[in-house]
Symmetry: C2
Amino acid sequence: MERLIPYEQLLNFTREIFQKIGCSPQDALTASTALLSADLRGIDSHGVARLIGYVRLQEAGRANPRPVIRIIHETPSTAVVDGDGGLGLVVAPFAMQVAIEKARQVGTGWVSVQHSNHFGIAGYHALKAVENDMIGIAMTNASALVAPTFSAERLLGTNPICVAVPAGTEPPFVADLATTTAANGKLEILQRKGQQAPEGWIQDKKGNSTTDPHALKTGGALLPLGGDREHGSHKGYALGAIVDIFSAVLSGANYGPWVPPFPAYVPMPTGMPGKGIGHFFGAMRLDAFRPADEFKQDMDKWIGRFRSATPVAGHEKVLIPGDPEREMEFIRRQSGIPLFGVVLEELKGLAEKFGVEFP
Amino acid sequence: MERLIPYEQLLNFTREIFQKIGCSPQDALTASTALLSADLRGIDSHGVARLIGYVRLQEAGRANPRPVIRIIHETPSTAVVDGDGGLGLVVAPFAMQVAIEKARQVGTGWVSVQHSNHFGIAGYHALKAVENDMIGIAMTNASALVAPTFSAERLLGTNPICVAVPAGTEPPFVADLATTTAANGKLEILQRKGQQAPEGWIQDKKGNSTTDPHALKTGGALLPLGGDREHGSHKGYALGAIVDIFSAVLSGANYGPWVPPFPAYVPMPTGMPGKGIGHFFGAMRLDAFRPADEFKQDMDKWIGRFRSATPVAGHEKVLIPGDPEREMEFIRRQSGIPLFGVVLEELKGLAEKFGVEFP
């Protein structure tokens, strides 16, 4: 059974749940807005489907519902933020705001974050800069599911990068990408459907290529963007590594195989070198480089040229990064967020458990 | 016939050629050092093999041997540099130095460059920041050889990104990657050997997958990192687009299909929206985030953990980005730069033409 729930109602429900687990009203709204931006943009794996995961993190004492988030080091263009173990959904908006304020002062702002937790989708945070006529950058590390090239071990998370760029009459350019061939959410879909994965997405525990979408449960790993060495997996590995270093080595968070897992039932890594999960944010004022309107005119021309490229037969058009998500948001703001199956049952369970009405 | 030429002798020769085409002694040394860093690091396609290409650019009036390179806009953390049509090999070191100085002042420095030309390998420029206890970032756009996902047209260059990160007792982490499955230089090797390319590297002029390494000469294109949509080519396309936007839309250089070609015999694009080729550089002071020694300790631990990962059977070890190039540089600084075939003949031809002794 599928249900379409109006965005505002789902936001209200999510906000109430976050309050029930101890968040302040303001933080509950911040977290809900960030979380549900994933559902609006069609990235269902990272949205309200994870609400129960965040609840379990707080119940397991792995997330602090009342964090005192603060800057622990700064220069005119940089800061390190200590998230105090709070939800990344709350810590990340704080840190992005610091980056934006610094950009306002000196042209750009760069913030690395320690002691945080999962922050939802990178795109939500990067787009905050776009609202301020800035280029926005957001990235985060995550628990290890990805094997570097030639490694039989998982040492990196899916470590996404988002870069969001304002345009003029065109909508913004929003590239939001995991540094793997395929996101974990796509594997979950194949698992549910009982289908095989394409070659180049995963390896088994020995490092052999496999099409078994369940291989991650038996010690296998996702593969870096590129898939194998011949197709450039060392580049995807390097990109995931850069995200890890910027997010965690710069801030003093955990990195590599020591990043805390999202599922509260998975044991914490031993010998952790840092604090929590790490993120990295950047904001660059357009007019720190050129008059903003000149930049936007060229950006419109850039987008127009790419969008009008001759497509390969069988494909309607060349897409601009961010197109599919923006179109999805337009639809879902009008018709609602589709929920079904396990997710719907889990949310109803949360409603019952906390005595909150489910829409 | 192959010859091994000592680095210092080849540097001296290259320096003399650059002077012969009009560069100042200082610029000739700067350009030669940047150019030959590619040969030292084993990226033979981008080193002295291209010297004749740079000569032809100047002869065709497409490169200015006596540029007045200057900052045309700046904030405390940013600048736009006008390269005045000079060799990228000279413009890029100027711009990277600006980024480093700004980082010294306010924590980070970010410089977008217009009206430049090809700058050699990105790694050389990014490593300048590492010498100053900073993370270095370098990228450049280039003439269109790459088709975005679903496009039958070439709209992006191979648009490389380099991120170089200092460590403590370990050597630096240096990720230097074209945002394509395979670099154009690898295709040239296959062409010479008469071999086919792997699937996922190139498409023909209609956008069909092909293994013909000559397909670029008949309207084909290199493919973005990922290869096809199922393996994430939309991510490689987005990364190449980000490089294009940061390098050229931020600076006022040419972008997309309007980037000037490297071979002087290829006609210039019509309707160019900007000036020359664009680059983008960044420098981030380590101690703008954490005490530099703490950062380096964690970076050593990061590198040590990845290097000691259990390798897949058949592979000796997991590499750290920059390992192969550093090992090659160690060898070539001792034993010399290997030159053969067409490259050797072309260099001898330049020596004769300009009355310079070839080593």
